[in-house]
Symmetry: D2
């Protein structure tokens, strides 16, 4: 086990030219029409929804979101602002207001497809300079996902497949890790699924303190290819892009760049996975119905969500 | 039909003492324990969720939310603020921020149970002065609903049951309207259901311009009693409290006050019902799975949501 | 010196009845007309401005504000939010947005006269329930001070007059302290002056860490009376209300309550006094021109300001 | 008079190459040291402040700011957000919060020198890509102006000099207009002065409705040169850049670009000039003391201010 873990720990990054080739290979531009703004959500068909609903067998529901984080810290420089508002001198109710920075670490959120570019390239052949305006995104914005996500969720416990409590910050998740997790859990990721990749981050943070944002486990390029071949609709996990990485601005966040700008693969950032791992163990199941419903933000680059797993 | 409609148009409000009696009669304080913060969400059992999932037969999903409204108007004095934020001189992605006033008319939202009081009375025997602090609600806040709502939704088309396009602003929805809608639609509201009461408001606004907030169709006290007896988990609709009404501060928003503070009945405000009415007609069904997942706002008085109906 | 200091350290609070009497004695209601919203700014006459301008003898200008504090801490729970905003993909300039909680410790600010009440009493015989609305203050709001403050400023160094580096948190500033500071500095506070009371807080914080907000030096009731008799226009200082104090809600912040609600005395909170103390020493002068210009906030309860001293 | 006005109405824009030459000619880079962040505020010497203070002869003070504009409109898409905040169930005071977009038309504000670039060029030889970061400006930000502006103000009534009520939107302010205004008013702009250029905009808006932002009177290039030769410290006026103009992104706002990025000339946007014109007439004076004190915003691109004229 240790040897295997050690072997993985040394991640290797392909040259930027390989990423360029991968970007082209995985590019879904035109796949669902020149005006498609849904990307991999197209994999979630009506049949897929019906099948996902049938996964509800115990009726247990579980939130996969973190509490909105109002506490400023090095990992949360722009915390959520929650303000109780005045109604009347003798109030008959309480009202409040929220200010949310959509990305970062303060909240569980979905990315709009046009949130990240590769250079000037945005999903489906669009140019960032045309799409990202001061008034909001004009294409593949958050509103495109307004009817929500309702599909099969699959937890992939990479840490367990590796036989470790958690992956160290210099590690990466490879295609073979995803295969190994499937095998160990006797589950298979299918077209339209939303996967939840777990590397034990919260356990590591409990033991070792908050993650250093410059030193992070990441999804490796071959794993992105795996996701493409499996036709997943949504990626979520406690790791995203690896840091540090050798790439310039074009691929500084290479997974985001390829997933969003080439594949139109929806990303769900900052989920709370520990409770899911626990419930999955308790029920002896890795798959479940998962629902997410982004706010209808015209022009929005992302949305806070509270994804709910129902077993 | 016309005669019946005319008869209803003249709504009559019982004296405040009757509301006091109703408040006591419908009071669920202690029903699910002295520390319960879920109120009528307790009606949504694991079995209820399983049964609700089985309503997914066509796989059609539909958002029941309105777009976040960023346009200021007399009916939207505190619009949503959407700001594109600066990333870098040569950006590789777009980020943004939202500021949301939780209540009002700018967004579809769930109420926390402690959002409204009857005088100083909050759900489950609590006192507003103890619960509503400058830092947020300390009981029955939005976070209490963190695992979301997953239940059977039932559309009740009051306008159709009355045989009118829409109810006029001086009208009210009575228990017999709810009965009539059930009868016409051959559906029965059951324990744990979320009901969507439709009076044709959007059609009226399309024809006659924005609603005058001081002149509004409302849920009448006998209809609240009906909801209690049917054990609904969530009320939603295009009408809530009737205005004008004869009550002082204690019952100025009498439906909110009795629903939230006595019953712990969850309210979903400002839904978009026209598309639901249309889809319901198209599919010939009044019931469906409905999911809602409020943001995990500790101390919050409400949450923006995008409720999704799946047929 | 020590003995004297020790004697002062034990501050004694008069009973609430004495404060009631003081409130009545110092009440300026009606003094400048029943509709006056300027309070003690009435002491700043055109002649006073001319005289104040003549204090500009060296042309040295100094800010008396602190930097807007964007860092969250126990003493700054609602920090200023500063956001760089998006302009264009290839920007030709930088723009930003600020969110400011007016009171608290994040910024140097002026209080509107109606900011604080004594029970339901607001300046000039008004009632809080009539004035403090959800849309803003309808009387003695920030806008009332729109033409700014332009008057003589006088630094009163209480710490130096006591012969200590700083006053300890259990201490209070009495009328005799103000007299002693005047005597030591050979300066006399006159009608219309803005006083800056210095007790060495920043030095204490540098040595002992951030102030405990529950343990604070305060202005004692006899000092409020002194301010009334001297007809000062504005009070500023590194101490305001003493904490802990024995009073209930009515006088929980007794200095604010009497100054604002009875006297209409303008308060400038959270000034930066150390640089003023230094420059005052360097130039051998305790008086100077001071200017402040609050933002024109209709209904506002306060305004961020950057007071400028010119010697 | 009419003929003269007609002649001016046809403004002519020099080619972009001329602006490049002007940018170089007026460039103050290095003039006050390589690290200077004050730009033309360097013209305000201690002697200048003393002289400015001596202009206070009547003691009349007047705000030159507009009220913060909380009403959304085509000319104010991001209005100021003013929120009354909850303090307690039985409050003893009122508190509030403000959200301000610094630029645009919602508020009278000062520009930081690094607010606008010419291509990538920022004042004093800096590059925008190095200075304009997501966390704020790192050079020539708002904080640089922390000690405020205290100088002689001079009103230049261009409309009166032209003998018209207001300039039409296709007009421009030329150097000879400034000369003519000086001559008519018997005043001379001197080193360190802050000028207020009045073209009658508010009168025009009262008569003809809100200004079309795409059709605006502007400062012509020869007038910028005039300002440089007169060594003004601050420009303010009811016109800034002319629209439409023939320039690309580099000079889309050519006056801002040359003033800020070349000269380091401070700009005060959106002043309220009508009351100044009236008071100036009443007192028969065109010059006065003017004070402005921007908020101490580290990294800020601008600041709301309430400039005060004292005669």
């Amino acid at each position: 086990m240790k040897a295997s873990s050690a072997k993985k720990a040394k991640r290797e990054f392909p040259p930027e030219a390989t990423l360029d080739a991968l970007f082209d290979e995985l590019n879904n531009a035109g796949r669902w029409g020149r005006d498609d703004e849904l990307g991999t959500l197209n994999y979630i068909t009506a049949q897929k929804r019906i099948a996902a609903a049938s996964l509800v067998r115990t009726g247990r529901a579980l939130s996969l979101a973190r509490d909105l984080n109002t506490l400023q810290s090095p990992n949360n420089p722009s915390p959520v602002r929650h303000t109780m508002c005045y109604q009347a001198h003798y109030p008959i109710g309480a009202v409040d207001a929220l200010t949310l920075d959509m990305h970062g670490f303060a909240l569980t959120h979905l990315d709009a497809i046009a949130h990240v570019y590769r250079g000037d390239d945005i999903y489906n052949g669009r140019r960032a300079a045309d799409i990202a305006l001061a008034t909001g995104l004009t294409f593949a914005d958050m509103l495109a996902q307004k009817d929500g996500i309702f599909t099969r969720g699959v937890l992939l416990d990479i840490a367990a497949a590796r036989g470790v409590k958690w992956l160290t910050p210099d590690d990466g998740v490879h295609a073979e890790d995803l295969d190994a997790a499937e095998k160990r859990q006797r589950v298979r990721v299918e077209s339209g699924d939303c996967i939840f990749v777990y590397t034990g981050l919260q356990k590591r943070e409990s033991a070792e303190g908050p993650e250093n944002l410059g030193q992070r486990v990441g999804i490796m390029p071959d794993a992105i290819k795996w996701m493409h071949s499996r036709e997943i609709s949504v990626y979520s996990g406690d790791c995203v892009d690896a840091f540090p990485n050798p790439y310039g601005a074009r691929y500084a966040i290479y997974f985001h760049a390829i997933a969003l700008a080439a594949m139109g693969l929806i990303l769900l950032d900052i989920p709370a996975l520990e409770p899911l791992v626990e419930l999955s163990k308790e029920l002896g199941r890795s798959d479940f119905l998962v629902t997410m419903a982004p706010l209808r933000i015209k022009g929005g680059t992302g949305s806070p969500v509270n994804p709910i797993a129902v077993f």
